[in-house]
Subunit: 339 residues, 2 copies
């Protein structure tokens, strides 16, 4: 059994850049002071704002007890990096607070490997944290840079804007359904792809940076398109018309029955793709960004003004590819209700 | 049953300053963007470093299930502000991630009242967070400002420095023992004081700010004097000689049997007093700071060089008031072992 301090030292502090021994070929830390003091100290570059986001992952709610710890380390940081991506912020640091039922060395080795593999890809440095015993809980706070005024906010959508999404939607929810036995997929490669979407989401960091100055409003789809788009609409005081059949799905998801496919794509959480709005003039620029970043970008609808000023709630009008209205009542994922 | 979003709105977002409706007499937010987007945005003032700390509190480990939620809200932020105090940083913002077994309105009302009462006292703004269902877990990350180079670090102690502590030590551990039935205190006022020390620690923010440029090394005593002073010694490559009888205790603690008193004062956690070192020339200045801030400041020992360069570990030599060595083997609180 490892003590708390040797656990931090062995699995986390050594791999935090500022904890590298002198002489080791570590990159230069952006932190003035990293792990091992009461606080970390960072110096944001002049002219940049600091973007901050925090996400807590709980066993049984966000992941199963038997999840591959390497994948869990990846996902815990990925969902936070996704928030930076949605803001157009460049990742630079994170803190990690971890409650563990036991100090299981094998589990910690795999978890920290998954975590740091992603952190190193995005040059995102662990600068501090906390560990305690308790039911498994992972709380990460990330820090990113964005030039003053350049952040992609939720409140910036305007009537007439196109609504775009990156990648394909619904695979993560379909993967969850597979694990839960809600449905089955015979094709092993397709099943693996759906589970991978759930367990190893790819934060759209490069896309978020490319969309600065191009997109207006943006967010990441963590709770499902219907619920997340509603956040943009609420904060931008607008409504949306969306072609449900235009929402892109993977071949693996397309092979599932239509009602499953539609629910997963429109209301399934955990995809971590970006949803953003932009003026129609930006279409060619956005297409070029998609090609350069090798990410599918699809127009799915339009932002509309709220016609009646007394209308109670902003809303989404769904239609199918023929233009016929779809009476969908889709809700975003809510952590205090079953999804 | 409240939904996640109405819960955040009702108990947290409304009281976050940046969420104040226009026209309401709210203070000006330092945050460029607060709760409700993917990230908060903050703009650190020129010349300041950003001090960041994170602490996770778990039911059954850091507090009992039946703790007064108002006190818990206070303590969850207090232990984080204490880390800023120990660094000499001025609090300005925090994020809150919360896992709750249920959305209990009464509990949330009291918890958020306790939290914001302390936050408002220290002008510390809630800028973001996350809520989820799960075993009760509170993870706060705090942000403070400290001028470049002025932070009170753990690695700055020098041989010849005095070792100081603020307040009295051991009351929180004595209060924990009362709740656990390890010992009893007949005097009701004394018992209340000990429990209050455990449940409502006061972060030494003003003291930390006053000690900038005066103290050398500093930290807050969260895991017990013995364990925490060892962190300063390890990072400063030094050892310490400490008069165990000089360590200040309250009258309430002094009334307990000598072995209990000593263990609580020297190794009990959760006091959140500051331990700091300073040159002997600073004694008068420090005494004046104590009077101005109305906090007891006591010299308890001296930093010594490590005589033998090959000595394995920095250590503390304890003695009693007569100078006789005390063979104490005190360890700091370790979350993976019983304390």
């Amino acid at each position: 059994m490892l003590s708390e301090f040797s656990l931090i030292e062995r699995f986390f502090a050594r791999r935090a850049r500022s904890g590298s021994p002198p002489g080791e070929a570590a990159k230069v830390s952006r932190a003035a002071l990293g792990i091992g003091d009461d606080c970390a100290l960072i110096v944001p570059p002049a002219g940049q704002q600091l973007a901050i986001s925090t996400d807590m992952l709980v066993e049984g709610r966000h992941f199963f007890a038997d999840v591959d710890p390497h994948a869990l380390g990846h996902k815990a940081l990925a969902v936070n990096l996704s928030d930076l991506a949605a803001m157009g912020a460049a990742p630079h640091a994170f803190t990690l607070a971890l409650a563990l039922p036991a100090a299981d060395e094998q589990w910690l080795a795999a978890f920290s490997d998954g975590l740091f593999a992603l952190a190193e890809r995005f040059d995102c440095e662990l600068i501090g944290g906390d560990t305690t015993s308790g039911p498994l809980n992972i709380c990460i706070t990330v820090f990113g840079d964005v030039p003053g005024g350049a952040a992609l906010r939720r409140d910036a959508a305007r009537p007439g804007d196109d609504i775009w999404v990156s990648g394909t939607l619904g695979d993560a929810r379909a993967g969850l359904g597979l694990l839960r036995g809600e449905w089955d997929v015979d094709d092993e490669a397709a099943a693996a792809q759906l589970k991978c979407a759930l367990e190893r989401p790819e934060p759209r960091v490069a896309l978020g940076l490319a969309l600065r100055g191009v997109a207006r409003a943006a967010l990441d789809i963590s709770d499902g398109l219907a619920g997340d788009l509603a956040h943009i609409l609420k904060r931008s005081h607008a409504r949306a018309v969306v072609d449900a059949d235009a929402v892109p799905v993977s071949d693996a998801l397309a092979a599932l029955p239509a009602p499953v496919r539609r629910t997963c794509a429109l209301a399934g959480g955990d995809d971590y793709e970006l949803c953003f709005t932009a003026s129609a003039e930006a279409r060619a620029t956005i297409a070029a960004i998609g090609e350069r970043e090798r990410v599918r970008l699809t127009r799915i609808g339009t932002i509309e003004p709220i016609a009646d000023a007394s209308a109670r709630a902003p809303s989404i009008a769904w239609h199918d590819r023929s233009g016929a209205p779809l009476p969908l009542t889709l809700q975003g994922f809510d952590h205090f209700h079953a999804d």
